[in-house]
């Protein structure tokens, strides 16, 4: 696998960012886009545009086929059993809100318990908080260990007879911990508990096999997966998607509308009300093709090498403190520097063209637990190289120099 060649597929790396070559280490936030994805959006709007699923004219039929074609590609990519288990949403956030809202409407009852973890992004906490407010459900938190991991044992410990649902991240966007989702799902299912997975960080970096993983729902963010913004995927087991009520009402999701009654459409239309992000869905097919052309095993190997290299580099850099040291770690290096606030780190690194994120990364619960207000985070994607991490380290040294450390 030639990373230089892969990098050339991303037009942004031809740009000078404030006179610097771009060292993009913010892929956990959002990935850059390969040219084939950008071009596909342009091509669709220029030559093929029509709304989907409604009109019978040539363009509408062709666009509908393209749109449904991406659904099939996603199904294949994540090895879902049925094409109708793939629902497009406006993002992973909407996917998780859809699950919480519809389960709240028809499944979860007052007093039921939902188990999440201290690693969760706000988008996998706030939707459950809404149910805490509206339905009086209880939210329990599985706690991280010293390494910033969530173990199967910890999950088991926090399950009570009232636990109805477990909602967990596949890969932490702060510590990088990869959770034993398959084992957690087996345990949960043996107790009749539903499993929801926030796959925002998992989907771009791990091999996905829904039938093997076994979870009931899996939320994907397409813009972190070398795809367009404004698009997410919700995988849901067919029996759940059939049983649960619709999330939003509008055009496209209905079967029949009368003054005194309304019946809803079949899957997946039932959950795709209104005009969807058509161009994005069609272009996302190219993101999947891009990932398939490299092979997810190769992506995983490359990113694991990068993380190992980056971890060693930063561990050797005194005054840098890495957050978490999970055995199974994804492409995330979160850190603090004693005496320099993460925002100052990010500003100083930016001056060298090194793009990282600073803040709580939408994980305030975790930062409270770690007793830090914020952290700096470098996260890798397929286009990163060891030289990028060398530059990160060099810029960190510059940062220490400015702060007289």
């Amino acid at each position: 696998m030639n990373i230089d060649q892969i990098k050339k597929e991303f037009p942004i790396f031809d740009e000078k960012i404030q006179n610097n070559d771009l060292v993009y280490l913010d892929s956990a936030n959002s990935s850059q886009k390969p040219k084939i994805v950008v071009d596909r959006i342009n091509e669709f709007y220029t030559k093929q545009f029509s709304n989907v699923g409604r009109s019978v004219h040539y363009l509408a039929v062709a666009a509908t086929n393209l749109y449904e074609n991406t659904r099939s590609s996603v199904q294949k990519y994540i090895n879902a059993k049925d094409k109708n288990e793939i629902v497009f949403t406006k993002g992973a956030t909407e996917a998780l809100n859809l699950v919480a809202n519809t389960l709240g409407q028809s499944y979860l009852q007052e007093g039921d318990e939902v188990l999440i973890t201290e690693l969760e992004h706000h988008s996998n906490y706030v939707p459950w908080h809404f149910l805490r407010k509206s339905k009086n459900i209880k939210i329990n938190f599985a706690e991280i260990n010293e390494e910033g991991e969530i173990t199967l044992e910890e999950i088991e410990k926090k399950i009570t007879p009232k636990t109805k649902l477990i909602s967990i991240t596949h890969l932490s966007n702060v510590t990088g911990a990869i959770l034993p989702v398959k084992e957690i799902t087996q345990l949960a299912h043996s107790k009749g508990i539903i499993v929801v997975v926030d796959g925002c960080q998992g989907a771009p970096h791990l091999k996905l096999d829904m039938q093997d993983l076994g979870c009931d729902f899996y939320a994907i963010s397409c813009h972190k997966m070398y795809g367009p913004t404004g698009l997410g995927v919700l995988y849901g087991k067919k029996k759940w998607l059939e049983e649960l009520p619709p999330y939003q009402g509008g055009g496209g999701m209905i079967n029949e509308v009368k003054k005194d009654r309304i019946s809803y459409g079949e899957l997946p239309n039932k959950y795709e009300a209104g005009t969807m992000a058509t161009a994005q869905v069609i272009a996302f097919d190219q993101s999947i093709k891009f990932l398939e052309s490299i092979g997810i095993e190769n992506v995983m190997k490359h990113e694991a090498d990068l993380v190992e290299y980056g971890q060693e580099l930063l561990q050797k850099n005194n005054s840098v403190k890495l957050i978490g040291n999970p055995k199974n770690k994804g492409g995330v290096l979160s850190f603090t520097i004693e005496g320099v606030h993460p925002h100052d780190i990010a500003t100083i690194l930016d001056e060298d063209g090194v793009a990282i994120r600073a803040g709580h990364h939408c994980c305030q619960i975790l930062h409270d637990k770690l007793n830090i207000p914020a952290s700096a985070r470098a996260s890798v994607g397929i286009y990163n190289t060891k030289e990028d991490l060398d530059q990160l380290n060099e810029s960190i040294n510059n940062c220490k120099k400015i702060f007289n450390l």
Binding site: G339, H341, H343, D344, I348, E351, H360, P373, A374
Partner: protein, 154 residues
Amino acid sequence: MNLKELYQEIILEHGKNPRNLRKTEGFNKDAKGNNPLCGDNVHVYLKLNGQKIVEDASFEGSGCAISMASASIMTDLIKGKNEHEAKEIVEDFLGMIKENPELKSKYLNEDEKTKLMCLSGVKQYPMRVKCATLSWHTMVSAFDEKTEEVKTEN
């Protein structure tokens, strides 16, 4: 863009050893501010005497070097000013951080102006302007006895 202009010695020094980082005993005005995007927070305390003059000002909170230095310098120079003077200084400061080349308030002496101008490097970093202004907005909120937390905006 110039990092040296942003991180001047005086900013680094105030950032490292902030003045008035404590809670004023017997304060009679206070307000909280936070920056929801990054999680920075500040709590400003003021003690006004019978003549409505700021006898003591202090703050608690955490944030970057810019925000800590800004709160440190602000609480230092606001002592001895009354509400009207303080608010005019805030306006002057916010104007300078956003666009004005210099400070104009007659309530600031040259030394105070020099100190505040050290924060002018922030101008070139639009994402960091809110770091410099959070404590100032929060102080106004304290004067106005607003109970709602101040949220920053650029």
